[in-house]
Amino acid sequence: MDTFGLWISFYTMLRKDIVRMFRIWVQTFLPSVVTSCLYFLIFGTVLGSRIGEMQGVDYMLFVVPGLVMLAIVTNAYSNTSFTFFQSKFFFRGIDEILVSPTPPWLLIAGFISGGVVRGILVGTIVLLISAFFTSLHLAIHSVFIIFGFAVLTALVFSLAGLVNGVYAKSIDGINLVPTFVLTPLVYLGGVFYSIHSLPVWAQGFTYINPIFYLINGFRYGFLGIADIPIWISLAVLGGMIAALIAINWYLIRTGLGLKQ
């Protein structure tokens, strides 16, 4: 296929996924809206008023970047893992792409782009909700850094979700990772606190949590404060993207978990 044909194939995959996510918006968008409202209400308004400030910033403003990141991470991951698993397992719709001249790298790009779009859309919705809870006093240090970290984070977790979708042999395989791996990592990655408020031994554990680096960079974009230099966060993100692209390329190219 020429470049135009490749673009059409990519557009077809992305369009199909966007149509699907809007068709089932109650499953794709609403849950994050409801849970983020609850987080803002409980951690921001109820508990936040007692906590006061974190790193010199109002607690409600401190948790906003983490909660937006939580929405991006979970939505990007689950979108890619579920759509791929569904098309592989339930009705073998993946065969439609496998028999076509769409190359493996474009198949990866098509699936992860849906996850990135959903992650960014839901993250934007949660950000708009946060504006309501912060009475529009949302701090923005750098729009460029906020958007950059949002897109890169959505990309990382879309790629990770695709690995999960390729490997999963049952619907349990799709649900286990978000519940028992992703959620704890996000909660322990500094959504609700600064690592400087932890004892030294616990800080050590936080440094091996990749999500800490994403939240750190994203929070810097909003508040201009960070636990560690932002370039370290970018380096960790870049490394994760490179590693996950390589894993996905290998899996799709060889057909592991996909072809007999």
């Binding site: 077809t12 439609e96 496998l98 028999v99 001249p101 190359p103 072809k259 007999q260």
Partner: protein, 262 residues
């Protein structure tokens, strides 16, 4: 002389569970042919089709489609093929028209071209009134016809049909065969697997019979029948039954002779 539509050389396939599906199959389908690949369940037909279309990894051997090697020129080879698989494999929550249009998209065909082409195909296959409905509302026969429309939307030169009429009633089956015959007459190369042997005998020019991963007979329909039909299956003129009281065509007799357990 143009390259054959399909050329398979020494194709072997062993699945991860140790099952040996293909033991060095070699096969050639000429351009414009209506070719029957026949065999009992588990003989290796679907493995051949799966490897040719990129759904199954081969163990060794080579395959080319119109001269394009499926490993070296994967995209060019796939551009030539349309596949109607054995199992229904589309999203039942999608609209019928979208399923066909999206398939065109995966071949790089823009929607402005794909939509009218899909509408024409669906109408020709009797699904014109179902274009806006979810695929789950279609009957079994309609789903099969939808799969044919989907396989034709990229205007392939080589159509592969893996038991396309399984579970389809007689009237619909005849309609589908008429449609496929008309496509064959227009020059489309067709590879067909089916368990309806009398229909294969009437429709197809060439035939290969595969058993336990090996081709046990191949050639023109007449050649294969003449070579392997011993006459023991000749029908009793008074009852119309073949040997053993069985009612079947010559190809069916040959098929049973070549594939039944000794």
């Amino acid at each position: 002389m143009s390259a054959p539509a399909l050329k398979i050389t020494g194709l072997k396939k062993t699945y991860r569970n140790g099952v040996v599906a293909l033991k060095g199959v070699s096969l050639e389908v000429s351009e414009g042919d209506f070719f029957a690949l026949l065999g009992p369940n588990g003989a290796g037909k679907t493995s051949i089709i799966g490897i040719t279309t990129g759904l199954v990894n081969k163990t060794s051997g080579s395959i080319s489609v119109f001269g394009h090697d499926i490993d070296a020129e994967t995209e060019l080879a796939k551009m030539q093929i349309g596949l109607v698989g054995q199992e229904v494999n589309f999203n039942p929550f999608e609209k019928t028209l979208n399923i066909v249009v999206n398939q065109a998209g995966y071949y790089g065909i823009p929607r402005s071209v794909a939509i009218p082409r899909a509408e024409k195909l669906l109408t020709e296959l009797g699904l014109g009134e179902k274009m806006g409905e979810n695929a789950m509302t279609l009957s079994g026969g309609m789903k099969r016809r939808l799969m044919i429309a989907r396989a034709l939307v990229n205007e392939p030169r080589f159509l592969i049909l893996d038991e396309p009429t399984a579970g389809v009633d007689v009237e619909l089956r005849r309609g589908m065969w008429d449609y496929l015959t008309s496509l064959s007459k227009k020059g489309l190369t067709i590879l067909l697997t089916t368990h309806y042997l009398e229909e294969a005998e009437q429709l197809c020019k060439h035939v290969a019979i595969i058993n336990k991963g090996e081709i046990v007979a191949s050639g023109t329909m007449e050649e294969v029948i003449a070579k392997h039909h011993s006459g023991s299956g000749a029908k009793d003129p008074s009852t119309g039954l073949g040997a053993g009281g069985y009612r079947g065509g010559k190809l069916e007799e040959v098929f049973l002779k070549l594939t039944s357990e000794k």
